[in-house]
């Protein structure tokens, strides 16, 4: 299993049947491939739809039907369209049960930075700030360390924040971490790692809960 599959498989189990879910572009999308049987989600795309289904077959793309990543999608029976004000009324208004967002940096206070690197990458926040503020459950998915091997789970984010104190769960290929008022609680680790290794690759101090750290199941 590669990193994306590990994160996708474990992340998909965080959902409950019937949830309204909005997934960010990139690694968050991966979770869709592993939704457990019996879990039916309402998928929102912030450009204005709930209930989209799989990608269309080549040649059957609808020019007026894409997801927020500009990819052609299909609609499932029961789906609906709406305008952007309604879309963000759903998001900001707390009607979205869960969002999964990518990470540049995340920290022990649940702060998330994922939309810009000053001087290098300034694409804009799109809907990420609204999603982080509005969704009932915010899951930050990430590779545990960046390409240079440096931790992405920090004591304090250094990059400009997407949202302050909104992340509930941090999921990487190594660990599932719950953000609490006391700090980051290590709930699960991957079968091929140890608590010590996870801590050594995490800048923030991880709290080991009294009930112990479980081994991740995929």
């Amino acid at each position: 299993m590669d990193v994306r599959e590990k994160v996708g498989r474990r992340g998909a189990k965080l959902f409950k049947d019937g949830m309204l879910v909005n997934l960010g572009i990139g690694m968050p999308d991966e979770l869709l491939n592993y939704i457990p049987a019996g879990i039916n989600l309402h998928l929102q795309t912030e450009n204005g739809a709930i209930g989209f289904g799989p990608s269309p077959e080549q040649g059957y793309e609808d020019p007026d039907l894409t997801d927020a990543g500009d990819m052609p999608v299909t609609m499932l029976p029961g789906g609906c369209y709406f305008d952007s004000a309604t879309s963000f009324a759903l998001i900001r208004g707390g009607h979205v049960d869960a969002t999964v967002l990518g990470v540049l940096e995340v920290d022990e206070q649940g702060n998330l930075a994922n939309y810009m690197v000053p001087g290098k990458m300034v694409p804009g926040m799109g809907g990420a700030m609204d999603l982080a503020i509005g969704a009932k459950m915010v899951v930050a998915v990430t590779v545990h360390c960046n390409n240079a091997g440096a931790p992405k789970i920090l004591k304090r984010c250094k990059l400009p924040l997407t949202a302050r104190g909104q992340v509930n769960w941090i999921l990487s290929e190594l660990a599932l971490i719950e953000v609490t008022k006391e700090g980051l609680v290590l709930r699960e680790i991957a079968p091929d790692t140890t608590v010590e290794e996870v801590q050594s690759k995490t800048e923030a101090t991880l709290i080991i809960p009294p009930e112990g750290v479980k081994t991740m199941e995929y």
Partner: protein
């Protein structure tokens, strides 16, 4: 009744220095025929309000590439490298807004509201310099309304009364922008005499001109 005009006549209604609103999300729901006319007329120093700048050869991306913009208000520009280049070079003034904030600012501008308080952006660069208040134990920042001189929309069906109906995810920002400009011009894929009132999404009284889509 909305007046049916050509895309060139629509472009002629825009002046150098105008603030324009253009519907669309990654150019889905953007009136491409009108954008092409704005490029041909090469109107300059525009302030553009649009969700994103699409791709260099799509939607309002073409206005960026043709260097017709002075200022841009958007939520995302990462898909158009030319926007990023002009922004980094100091040639284009870009104000990034969270998408939900951007659409609500346009809505406020169109529906007669003086602004609104939102939790989005609290504790981030977006909140800098903005008034902040606590409502129900939650910190929120004040966001102000946006309006433009001309709004350009795209709809799937329009009728001669200006009523509009959209298709798929092409509705996006078009709905609120119909309220938020002095002149509203809708490009329609299909023009009919009159629509079933039950199917109207944007009331025709908001729409001044109709342009038939080239596609």
């Amino acid at each position: 009744m909305a007046k049916v005009i050509t895309s060139d006549e629509a472009a002629a209604l825009v002046n150098n220095g105008d603030t324009i609103l253009v519907g669309g999300f990654m150019a889905i729901g953007t009136p491409e025929t009108i954008i092409d006319a704005l490029v041909r007329k090469n109107i300059q120093d525009l302030t553009l309000i649009c969700n994103d700048t699409a791709l260099p050869d799509r939607g309002v991306g073409k206005l960026v590439v043709n260097r017709q913009l002075k200022k841009l208000l958007a939520s995302h520009v990462g898909t158009n490298k030319e926007t990023g280049r002009q922004m980094a070079a100091g040639e284009l003034d870009v104000e990034l807004n969270p998408q939900g904030t951007l659409v609500e600012r346009i809505r406020a501008g169109g529906v007669g509201l003086g602004g609104f308080y939102t939790p989005t952006g609290v504790g981030t660069a977006v909140a800098e310099g903005k008034e902040s208040r606590v409502f129900n134990d939650r910190e929120m920042i004040l966001e102000t309304p946006l309006r433009g001189r001309v709004a350009f929309l795209r709809a799937f069906i329009g009728d001669t009364h200006g009523n509009l109906r959209y298709r798929g995810t092409a509705r996006n920002f078009n709905l609120v922008m119909a309220f938020a400009a002095d002149i509203v011009i809708a490009e329609v894929d299909n023009l009919i005499d009159f629509m079933d009132p039950e199917e109207v999404v944007t009331p025709g009284v908001l729409v001044d001109y109709i342009v038939r889509s080239g596609r």
